[in-house]
Subunit: 234 residues, 2 copies
Amino acid sequence: MRREFKKKSKVLLIDDNYEHLVGIRELLNLEGTFDVVGIATNINVGLNLIKKYQPEIVLLDMNMPEKDGLQGILEIAKLDLDTKVLALSGYDDADLIFRAMKIGAKGYVLKTMASAQLIYAIEEVLNGKIYLPLALSSRFFEYFQQSFREETAKQETEEENLLSYLTQREEEVLELLTQGITYKGVANKLFISETTVKTHVNNIFQKLQVNDRTQAVLYAINNGFLSKKIKLTA
Amino acid sequence: MRREFKKKSKVLLIDDNYEHLVGIRELLNLEGTFDVVGIATNINVGLNLIKKYQPEIVLLDMNMPEKDGLQGILEIAKLDLDTKVLALSGYDDADLIFRAMKIGAKGYVLKTMASAQLIYAIEEVLNGKIYLPLALSSRFFEYFQQSFREETAKQETEEENLLSYLTQREEEVLELLTQGITYKGVANKLFISETTVKTHVNNIFQKLQVNDRTQAVLYAINNGFLSKKIKLTA
DNA sequence: AAAGATATAGACCACATGGTCTATGAAACG
DNA sequence: CGTTTCATAGACCATGTGGTCTATATCTTT
């Protein structure tokens, strides 16, 4: 292992379970390549220690009372010290894993996993990689895909999507409405009279079954009206 | 391996490179546990074969002329036959991997990888799992996190976020506005007079530097006003 | 040729919305 | 204890918005 000659990596532990905290510290000390610069049983104390010691990596328990781990990740990120966060948890809750990774955790390890795997995870993260055990990444991907299925489902079911009944001209008008433009503004942009715009808008209301522009705009946004155009470019 | 006594799994291959296509077929035939029911050098032919043979899994090349692989995944999904798609590609393009997984690929394998790994990937996918080689999942996660950093950045920069200047009451009012409710409706919901609502709304306009409710709602949506509350519950 | 859909536009009206100004009681802050 | 902030609310007015009805010119479809 090449790290042996390097400076030890500074590690900080945050977990509301003191026993577990001490256990991990012992484990890492035995390993010899880590320097556990501090331990804390809650986020706020942990944040202060991070500011003080600037560890390369923080092992952060996700399931804590008071402030939960997700909030912790965000607040550590806000310190802007490129401290890497490895999330620890007792449960393989797909939603929690997903959200932790989404907001920037560099890895997620279950407490039930073998200590060798924890060590490996820490080293991978220290080397700039992202580490998720196979079992967890599988759950992650399922959740990931599901969350997008729901999103795209709206646009796919064109039969039920009232937006599909709009004419081309009405779509143009609606697009301008989603930019918060008045009748007069739309009229100028499209080179038509204000009353014509009103007619179009009224027809749009009928088709979308709404009563005012705000509701129409909200319907458009929630039903993938804007993303149609975005998806073609990005 | 328990599969030996099971019925062979039907596999279909789509790749514009005929040499490669035949190579994989040979490999899978040698393995003995797969039944390659068809091969195609373009998506449209492939789709017809899928309809005809209803394979459990399709190995789909991502880098094809004409219709690209992403489109292919979507069209296979549209057949609604729970055909699993394992994406094949010559390049470990993070964006392509991300998008393929996003729209429902069950795995992604590089052509340069060892054949044993391809076999393993196919079996994992057939067993209902999602398989990404470690090297690719690492890239995937980087891309994943980056795409969310941009999104959350808006909410993090509270100094520039005009929403942070709103009082609690104003936030309540704004939230109701984002549901397309009128002054009168808001007044009833909050048990205050209509004029009070108007005062609040006017103050909101000032703070958000907009001229009407539609613009205010759009500002709120584009600057993470709604996601604040969602993130705490969902 | 007739029917239907679409884009255009005017008239009229009710009312919702937005702008401005003033004012009061409560709570927070120094 | 004064000052500031906030939530409350009234009055007044201009205008934007939405509802309805009618009408014409194209264009497509039958």
